[in-house]
Amino acid sequence: MIKTRRLGENALAGYWFVLPLILVMVFFLAYPIAKAAIMSVQYWYMPKPKPEGHYFVGLENYISVFKDSSFTNALVVTGVYIVVTVIARFGIGLIAAVLLNTKFRGRGVARALLIIPWATPEVVACLVWILMYDKDFGIINYLGMNFNLISQPVGFITDPAIALWGAMAVGIWKGFPFVAIMLLAGLQSIPGELYEAARVDGAKPWEQFRMITWPLLKPVTIIVFLLLIIWTVKDFGIVYLLARGGPSQSTEMLTIFIYHTSFKYFDFGEAAAAGMIMLLFCAIFTYFYLKMLNREEY
């Protein structure tokens, strides 16, 4: 009797505490998403306003998105970007985390240094990389030439054939510390006795990794991997600031395509349609990912 009353009271108090959070999410997330969904089926070509205003156009925006060769290009670029960047960020992050989980002098310093790319503002990071990438006096071309890795200076972000790779390198550099830090936290929650026992049994470092580290790290890995993929899909700043989508659209990912459609060509309707497609893809991916995750737990 008393218990139910307390529960009811508790629940009510709970709502008061989460109310501001819910208000913010309704007004500034849910409402804009609904608005975007509506805009995606309306006429929103800003340079040519119609007397009817933003009238209903059905699926016209979606059709013009799919007919737009820039969109197809953006899908390919995004696909390459996600696969390469996610794998590299995760791989380097995992290696860094495993290394930093061993004891050696200067570990604290190494961990601090590792965080620097993550802390550096995107704009600043891109400026430095543009300078380092420069074809005439950039340090990377200088080192590459001196060590005979390249026979002539490379335009890392100005040559359409490799600009995407140049941009991905910066994306990887900026993003891997986050993975490393998260995985390191996961590694540190694995009890050290397990490794001692394995060592007593004569397990080699690689065997220890395969038999202890990897399986016990899996719950963290799954979450980090999901966050990593979602965040990589949404990446915008670095690639945009490095090359503005060019040269000849070779770095125009989906986010940059949407940005150009909305704030360069001012077709908010088509941009909203492309954005909704992207959102739908992310939502479906997350749904199946989490579902797969739940199934594995049982």
Binding site: A13, F17, V18, L19, Y31, P121, F137, L227, K234
Partner: protein, 280 residues
């Protein structure tokens, strides 16, 4: 013997990864002290031969029709501090509510918070632009505070919930037995215990506001209201011949506060960020 070799390999690999991570920052520092002749050269050196602080002087003191670093810094501070304040108030309340009370829809709310991570900024910016425009808020710092608070609140709530979860419930119960109301328990008993959590969460949202570029570049067109990232990006594009000494000096000035914050508080920050994800 074998383990010593392993150790050597570990240290070498760590050094390589750290060099990869730190090199651009070091190169920026080095370039910011170089005169132009040492930058536009086929033989760049690591340490400036003839160091100069002209770049820093120029960035800080020179002002023109479309350049004013100190003013942009002021805007960035205002936006980041306001974002941090609002995010903390909302996220701490929400995190406490989700940590302590079993209300209907609590699990759903948790899922929704996770789902907000999926929302692409490049989609949200379109309706937000239209909405803020009709509210007459475009071209103001308020527009940025609204946008940044909205984006950082879900993750901050998640972080704060993780911190509240580590504080024993018996404290709430004890306070309640002593006759403390719910709000007073929260404000006077629990909140003071989560100061490390508040600091970590606050830094997270401060940095998010300080570093953001896309929304700032669209929502604020007047150069007087630019934030540091937009200002420096526009400066880089606007010049006829890029003055790298100045740009790198500006980069150091913008990045240094955040990097120092990160390094000083990395322990708190990391435990905060991982509280939600790792304990899943």
């Amino acid at each position: 013997m074998k383990s010593r070799w392993t150790k050597v390999i570990v240290v070498i690999l760590v050094a390589l990864i750290c060099a990869f991570a730190v090199f651009p920052f070091v190169w920026m520092l080095s370039t910011s002290f170089k005169p132009a002749t040492e930058i536009y050269t086929a033989n760049p050196s690591f340490i400036p031969q003839d160091p100069t602080i002209e770049g820093y002087k120029d960035m800080i003191f020179s002002q023109s029709r479309n350049f004013n670093l100190l003013n942009w810094a002021k805007n960035s501070v205002i936006v980041s501090v306001a974002t941090t304040f609002f995010s903390l108030v909302i996220a701490a309340l929400g995190g406490y509510g989700m940590s302590r009370f079993r209300f209907a829809g609590r699990a759903a709310l948790g899922y929704i918070i996770l789902m907000t991570q999926v929302l692409p900024g490049s989609l949200l910016i379109i309706p937000l632009y239209v909405i803020l425009n009709s509210l007459g808020l475009l071209d103001s710092l308020a527009a940025l505070v609204i946008a940044y608070t909205t984006f950082s609140v879900p993750f901050c709530t998640w972080m704060m919930k993780g911190f509240f979860d580590t504080i024993p419930r018996s404290l709430d119960e004890a306070a309640s037995v002593d006759g403390c109301g719910k709000l007073r328990t929260y404000l006077t008993v629990i909140l003071p215990l989560t100061i490390p959590g508040l600091v970590a969460t606050g830094i997270f949202s401060f940095i998010a506001g300080w570093n953001e570029f896309m929304f700032a570049s669209i929502f604020v067109q007047k150069y007087g209201n630019w934030t540091l990232p937009v200002g420096i990006a526009e400066t880089a594009v606007g010049q006829y011949s890029t003055n790298w000494t100045n740009l790198m000096a500006g980069g150091v000035l913008i990045a240094l506060p955040v990097v120092i914050l990160f390094l000083l508080l990395q322990k708190h920050l990391v435990s905060g960020m991982t509280a939600g994800a790792v304990k899943q």
